[in-house]
Amino acid sequence: MTQRRFDRPLSRASFAIGTELANATMLNNSPTMEDLDGGMASEVEREEEESVTHLLRDRFRLCTISIAEAEAKQCGMEVSQPIITCISDLAFKFAEQLSKDLELFAQHAGRKSVNMEDVILSAHRNDHLTTLLRSFCNDLKAREPNLERKRKKNSRKEGRVAQGLLRTPDT
């Protein structure tokens, strides 16, 4: 009797465990496969993104090195290489943060393109920086219309010259 009593629950238990295991394996199998596929795809994407980011970071570092060395030469100082690398990484992070800020500012203004005003707004915490950027912005603005005017003037002059050339054979 006692054996039977023990047998039944045991067998049930073993059966239950068996089904549970089977279910678990069945249930686990499909998601793991999907996860693997999804994981593979996203990993490939991530690797690509990372390689692109690394490339950009290296190009950014080259620019930083030239700027930093020019700046240090002006001060009559030398800069050790790890320091430049450190500053470059900081500036790169700053650039990434800046891109997020600019996007948000443009979105808040209801635009899809980033403006000069957005860049100036991103430096609003520092008055000196704002004035510096504002003057740079004015410089850029002042340079552009001049170019257009010059082009227009040139085209007008060319037109006159062309007219003159056309007239000369007549006279």
Partner: protein, 104 residues
């Protein structure tokens, strides 16, 4: 006349584009999961479109980043000079870093 070395605006543009593309993709995913039952129309595609940048805005961003690097070097140089060394080392950068990060 201006011979100042600065960052390449194209490079800045590429960094920005990468960041925006990443964010747009994230937003697209979030909206897809949110709008699975409700309308998945033009709004999601419109919102997930990446941002564009003005050429002058990129030049201005390059200037901002250049001034960040220049400021870092100049401040570190002042500290190095005060300590009587001619080479900027890690300790000099450490001294100026907190204020620099607060100023930008």
């Amino acid at each position: 006349m201006e011979k100042e070395i600065t960052f390449d605006p194209d490079l800045i543009h590429e960094i920005f584009k990468l960041a925006w593309k990443r964010k747009a993709a994230e937003r697209g995913k979030n909206e897809l999961s949110e709008n699975m039952e409700s309308e998945v129309g033009a709004s999601s595609s419109k919102r997930s479109r990446p941002t564009f940048a003005n050429a002058n805005a990129l030049k201005l961003s390059a200037e901002l980043l250049r001034s960040f690097v220049a400021e870092a070097i100049q401040r570190a140089a002042t500290i190095a000079e005060a300590e009587g060394s001619t080479k900027i080392e890690a300790t000099h950068l450490e001294r100026i870093l907190p204020q620099l990060l607060l100023d930008f």
